[in-house]
Symmetry: C2
Subunit: 150 residues, 2 copies
DNA sequence: TTGCAAATTGGAATCATTCCAACTCATTCG
DNA sequence: CGAATGAGTTGGAATGATTCCAATTTGCAA
């Protein structure tokens, strides 16, 4: 069962939707809450399963709709790796993605601004890019990185 | 009609295939020639159309098979942008891709080694990446960049 | 020749995503 | 209050790229 949105997050949702003339609905609240609850870059199907625990009548089409709406108003990013299902990420800070081939897990990799700058600088004159996407593929020592483990 | 492979390119094809125990076939030669002839990152369907001009009986399944084989033995790279059809690129030098949203064209962007290095360096310890993919999205002033234009 | 394994082929199956027409629901208007 | 309106939701059908499969065909080797 998904935690309700905090007041702060609900406001962010409300305001982002408002700027593109859209409203908060029960479905959108839950889908957004699902994304914030577990930032593991879930697929649409993942989101659907998790959201249904709180709202059994929710439809897959609506999950697609909500996610598209969120992407449209800049609340979440789409993450694509090769030909796999699209995943969704509510981390708005500039970051790259690392896809672990062994587990399928996708991790956020912080992107220092100077790297973004140097990347922009390799574009020949006349090329104006709105978006840069960087994705790594490989293996990671899936250490669950709790400070005190074992 | 597609130009035949140069002796040099045919050898590259032959050797790359050989290292994974596979043979040169008429279909593979043509598909490879199509990729080399126009380096515009064609889709499977593009390749299919172009190759059929030289070999009318060629099947779409075979184009998929050939391209998969080439990717497997490192002769070409797959290029994915968002959810669009996969494109194929025979440029083996390290490079990024720029997708022009206005035209749909995909351009190669040279990647200086020091950028690749700095990108690798942002990975936290324990993350080993075999592949880095960088793609830009935006507009370009589609100047056909002939030295003497007009 | 004959036999074999690899490659090719056409068509069916898959599956993520998109489309659509009917339905629901909140809000506005009389 | 009701009815009208419009956004949002829903289930199911349609789409389209890719994969799968079983039946040939091919190129070599015995
Ligand atoms: Mn993980
Ligand atoms: Mn171009
Ligand atoms: Zn992310
Ligand atoms: Zn390329």
């Amino acid at each position: 069962m998904i935690q309700k949105l905090t007041e702060h997050d609900r406001e962010k949702l409300q305001e982002s939707l408002a700027t593109s003339g859209q409203k908060v609905t029960a479905q959108r609240e839950i889908v957004f809450a699902v994304l914030l609850a577990k930032r593991d870059h879930p697929t649409v199907e993942d989101v659907f399963q998790r959201a249904r625990e709180s709202m059994p009548g929710l439809s897959l089409a609506t999950v697609y709709n909500c996610l598209e709406t969120f992407v449209g108003c800049g609340l979440v990013r789409q993450v694509n790796h090769e030909r796999e299902s699209t995943r969704y990420c509510p981390n708005l800070a500039p970051h790259a993605h690392f896809r672990d081939e062994a587990t399928g897990h996708v991790h956020d990799i912080e992107l220092p601004p100077e790297i973004i700058q140097s990347l922009r600088s390799i574009l020949p004159p006349g090329f104006n890019s709105e978006t840069i996407e960087i994705s790594f593929r490989g293996r990671s020592q899936e250490t669950t990185a709790r400070s005190t483990s074992n």
